[in-house]
Every structure is written in structure tokens, then in C-alpha cells.
Symmetry: C2
Subunit: 376 residues, 2 copies
């Protein structure tokens, strides 16, 4: 493969070098009584919803790790080892899994009866530290995660020199890797991007030629979207100027998927500008669809209804969690959740098959788009 | 999409019609005191290892479902409904998920206060019944499951009229669907097929251009292989005459993946001829690799060692389970498991990164292949 040069590489190297220089300066300074790295606090207390940007952002709380504290000395060694390894990856244009990084760095320290790392949890934690301290995400550091998701439709992607026509992928589709920043879009004829929660619904739409008939890119997330899929949706929206419609089950889990795609997630709030797509709209399933399309006999009862004295669990608990999020405080979303609670049911995307297998592709989705019948 | 005509369609229709005719004949026969379908017993007691074919097969025990038994009447209705729906799918050249089949068939029976199905478990069980009664697997019945797995390498696949060059897939790869029987291989220049357990190792090999340098197809299963991947390995071995090398972690879970690919699994023993590939060889990781490649410092301790009085759990239990299988009773496999027990460790494929990131692609795998250093 050609070297993997990412758009952010220079910035990432600057960030890593800055981290190293800060430590070096402190080491050489006779007045400095400690070695410190500062990282933004990433817990929920420091996450807020930015109303202008319409996405989650990290606040300004910082925490310090002091390395001359004996209990932190080991961690200091580990942090410099991993930071150095990621710098090597970025410079050489290669990528690695966090597991490979662990194995590459695990060795016993000469002269000491001590290993650099005992298990992978140690190196994983250090990776998160470096992400937070530098503001570079894992993918910037050339570290990859599990790939997840599939893509079909009228777009030609250049991936590492290979030109891939995603309209010509049969029923198989392009597998979405965990790093997509190097993708170049050679051609795109699509009118919109449809993000689909379940692999089975992707299969249905492809079998019905939805991508061809509607001139649409279909991106299947296979449940909760992986980071690669989130980044790809963001990139395609911004670079290709494509409207993004999200198609999930009508339940709190599906609506949370939409929320993450639109506004970002708490654990990656410091990267919402790259992973969230505030313009994304929910195309379905909604509680209104149940009557509109005669699906009353194929809904499912919500689980975890509060019993006497106890609080809600399962679906009911999840509804309350999601409807309480700051960024869900709009009239239409509150109404949607309230309707779900009142009806006591959820409705899956595949329930549309109760009408006919082709109904979703030929009627449901085209009608929603024509009437601009979305939630956002 | 063009109609999905599978190689087996005619046979599948014959099987479904045979089932229907049997029931109809019994209904019309005044001497018949019951409606019965016969299915092969699929529990472990009826699974045996066929030494000539080198794979698991179903034995000759049958069980009967009698439908005039009141407790079976509901199931009878359900069986005919699902059998009829799958016949419709096969005839129309369409596919559906088992969830869509459930939603398509769920309705209240006119004149009765009774639903055809209460939940999807009911229809799923009926699908298994029909598979066993007819001997046609789910994919033959045009029912699809979750897709899983990725493919790269010098093969051109025609999928539903689209010609896909799998050598031209960048770092993304072809997503393997759950039904692959319609694949046609237009060109294949590969010397062998390498099946890889983890997605991260696939990523490593693709980044190192292993598929190009070694002229190999790389098929990642993403853990335990899905049915589509198993069928595709079987097809590529048989139709393209490709040697199959399986590359897993050196632990009982990895070796079980190999065992399933090679000999079949108990739950699908009646379809081993289509899902198993007895010629497949294990290329690694082996216990011998640990010394051979200096990996002593990157092994992991096995978990679940038997304590005083208790039996083994976790890794140790799994080792005993797998080494007790009839088809694992060869000298070299018993030696391999015994060595694992003696050392008390497992070794992951990614541990090879301890040498260098490119070591696996440039040294480890090519050496194994050149020296024909396999387990089988």
C-alpha cells in the first residue's frame, strides 16, 4: 500500500512534539518541581451542548497527571513509549491496531525485574490519555479499531490509489474501514445519503435497487455506528454537500443512534466537529408511522415498565435517559418520546414488511423524502 | 437487482413441494390417523464424524411432529405459513430476513382471537424445522442472516451482474454477504486463500500488500465465521481449486474456528458438504511458534486453571472440550493441546508485532508456506 498520509498528519505531529517538548522543558528546568501533563477532563461534567454548533463539546476543565508522584512514574514511562510509537506510525505513514502497539512495546526493562506493560488495559488507557492530552483522536495517531459498516451507491471512492465504484458492488458492498480520512471522492452523482441501522434493511434496499432508483448512497452502520462510519458520514456531508437521512428502528436505541450521528457522543465530545453531522435528519421510524402505515399489529411492547415502587428499566429507562438529554429538549422530540410512552410500543424498520417486501423502498422512503417529513 | 437464482433453487422447490404433498396426502387419506412431518434429529447424539469425508455428518435418527395433537396444531399452521412464504421467495428470486418473514406473516386469524405468531422466536423455530424437514438450509430458502467478513485479493467476482475486482479495494475490502451461492468467479489469479481470524490482522496484511506480494486472497472472518464466509471458503476451494490456509490465534477459540471451517459444526452437520472444507490447513499460531519466533514475553496466561476440588473453567475448560472432539483425535492435535496445557499460555496472531509490524507478512507467513509447516 502507498503510505497513508492523512489530512491531519502535520497537525498530529505538531501535537505530539508539543507534548514531548513540554516534558523535556520541565525535565531541564531546575525550578520545576514536577513533571506534569495536562489533559481536558472527559467526564460528563465537562461535556456541554453547544447550541450554535448544535453538537456536544468539551468544556474547559483540566486535570493534571504529575509524574514525579511515585505512583505515576510507571505511567509516565508508558505514556512516553506510546507517544513515541504513534509518532513513528504517523511519520512512516503506517497504521496499527492498539493491540499491536501493546505487543510492540511490551518488554522487560533492562536491569529491572519489571515489564513495560502487564496487560493491554494499561496501554489502552495510555492511548486515551494521549488522545486527550494532544486533542488528536486515535485515527489521527494512525491507530485503527474494528471496521464496521457497509456502503453502496453512486460514488467513486479512491482508497489508497484504488478507484472503487460503489454502484458496482452487487449485493456485497464496500466494507467501511476504521480510518477513512484518506478517502478521496472521484465522482459522486448521489442526491442524498441514507444511513440505515440494520444490515437486514440494507439488504432489502439493495435488493429493491433503492440506490439506483433513488440515486442514493446507502450506508449501513450495523447497529451503533463505529467511529469510521461516523467520520465517513461527516466527510460525505461536508465534502459532497449531501443531505443525510438517518433510518432507524422506532425505539430509544434507534433514536440514540440518530442523536450520536447528529450531535456527537459524550466520550468523544472533543471531536464532535469531525464525527457529528448536525444537519442529519431522522427519516423514520416514528410513532406517527404506526397509524399512517397500518403497523398496529406489528409493533412490540416496550419492556421494563415501572412496577409499583420501582423505577423504569430496559426500554422505559432508556427512553427517559435519552429524552432527558439537553439536546433532545425540542418540542418535536419530547412529543415523540411521550407518544412512545403513551402507546407503550416500539416499531422496527423491518415491520414495514407487513405491507410488502418492496413497500419500504417504493413507497415509505420516497414519500417521506418528497414530503420532507423528517424529525430533526 | 436481477432475480436471485441460486444453483439449488430447483432442488429447494422440489423439497418444499414434497413437504406440502406429504401433508396433503395425509389429509386426504381416510386411513391416516394423523398429520406428521418427520425431521432428522439434530442434537449431538445424532451427529457423527465421517472419517472418509473428514467432516461431521448427521446420522439416521428421526423425530416426528404430529399435528393432530392439539398442542401441535398451532405449530402446524405456522409451519405451512412459513413453508409457503419461502416457496414464494424462491419462485420470485427474492430474499428476505427471518425478521421480515415474521412481520410478513404476523396477523390475526380471521374469526379467531388468535395471532399467527406472537413473537419472532416462534417463526425462527419454524424456520429451523423446515430446514431440517426438507434438508434445505436457510440460504437455499432465500433467507439471509447478518453479513460478516471482508475479502481482498486477485479474484474478480460477478455478484448479481456487477463485476467486482477484489484486488482493487484499497484498505476497505468487499463486504461478504450472507448469501454467496450466486457469486460467479470471472477471473482468479490467486495461488491460495488465507483465512484470517481477526479484522486487525487483515488490516495489517493489506497494509503490507500481502495479497499483492503473495498473490493471495485474504478473507477475514471477524471472529467465529458466519455462514456466508464458511460457504464462500468452501466454494472458492472447490470451484477455484485453491489451497486454504487458516490463520488464527493460538488458543482453543482459534483452533475451534479452524475445526468448524475444516470439519463443520454440530448445529449445521446436515450441511457439512456445503459449509466445511476438509482440506483446509492451520498455518498458525502454534505453540511451537512461541520459541521459534521468540514470543515468550508476549504470550498470555491461560485463564480458568482447575483449583483444588474444582474442574477447569474458561480457557482450560475450552481446551478440554475441543481436544475431546472425535475429529481432534490425531497425534499432532493432541500434542498441540497438551503443549498448551503444559505451557499454560496462549499466543495471539498480533503478538507477532513484537518482532516488527511487517514481520507477519514478510517472514512468518511466507516461511510457513514455503516449508509447508501446517497443522491439519
Amino acid at each position: 500500500m502507498p503510505k497513508k498520509d492523512l489530512e491531519n498528519d502535520e497537525g498530529t505531529l505538531d501535537r505530539l512534539k508539543h507534548l514531548g517538548k513540554t516534558l523535556k522543558r520541565q525535565l531541564g528546568d531546575p525550578d520545576s518541581d514536577n513533571l506534569t501533563i495536562e489533559t481536558k477532563v472527559r467526564s460528563r461534567s465537562n461535556v456541554h451542548y453547544d447550541e450554535d454548533e448544535e453538537r456536544l463539546e468539551l468544556g474547559e476543565s483540566y486535570s493534571e497527571r504529575k509524574f514525579l508522584n511515585i505512583s505515576h512514574a510507571r505511567k509516565f514511562m508508558q505514556t512516553t513509549l506510546v507517544a513515541n510509537k504513534t509518532k513513528e506510525l504517523v511519520e512512516s505513514g503506517r497504521t496499527a491496531s492498539i493491540r499491536e502497539v501493546y505487543y510492540q512495546l511490551k518488554h522487560s526493562v533492562p536491569g529491572l525485574d519489571e515489564n513495560t506493560f502487564e496487560d493491554q488495559d494499561e496501554s489502552n488507557n495510555v492511548v486515551v490519555d494521549i488522545e486527550t492530552a494532544t486533542g488528536a483522536i486515535r485515527e489521527d495517531l494512525h491507530l485503527f479499531a474494528e471496521p464496521k459498516g457497509t456502503l453502496f451507491g453512486p460514488v467513486v471512492i479512491n482508497d489508497s490509489g484504488d478507484s472503487i465504484d460503489c454502484m458496482n458492488m452487487g449485493t456485497s458492498g464496500l466494507s467501511i474501514p476504521s480510518i477513512v480520512d484518506h478517502y478521496e471522492f472521484e465522482e459522486c452523482e448521489a442526491d442524498f445519503l441514507l444511513v440505515v441501522e440494520t444490515a437486514a434493511m440494507v439488504n432489502r434496499l439493495v435488493e429493491e435497487d433503492f440506490h439506483k432508483e433513488q440515486n442514493a448512497i446507502i450506508l449501513g452502520t450495523g447497529g451503533q455506528p463505529a467511529r469510521g462510519a461516523r467520520r465517513l458520514i461527516n466527510i460525505m456531508h461536508n465534502r459532497l454537500d449531501l443531505p443525510v437521512y438517518v433510518f432507524t428502528d422506532g425505539d430509544p436505541w434507534g433514536y440514540y443512534i440518530y442523536s450520536v450521528l447528529k450531535s456527537g457522543s459524550m466520550s468523544l465530545a472533543f471531536q464532535s466537529d469531525r464525527l457529528a453531522t448536525p444537519d442529519a435528519k431522522l427519516i423514520g421510524m416514528t410513532m406517527e408511522d404506526i397509524e399512517e402505515y397500518g403497523l398496529e399489529h406489528v409493533t412490540e411492547d416496550l419492556k421494563g415498565k415501572p412496577e409499583d415502587g420501582g423505577g423504569p428499566t430496559k426500554d422505559y429507562k432508556r427512553i427517559h435517559d435519552v429524552m432527558d438529554y439537553e439536546w433532545m429538549q425540542t418540542e418535536q422530540w419530547q412529543k415523540q418520546f411521550q407518544k412512545m410512552l403513551d402507546k407503550g410500543v416500539r416499531v422496527e424498520q423491518q415491520a414495514l414488511a407487513a405491507n410488502s417486501l418492496e413497500f419500504v423502498a417504493n413507497d415509505y422512503l420516497p414519500q417521506k423524502i418528497e414530503n420532507e417529513n423528517f424529525l430533526d
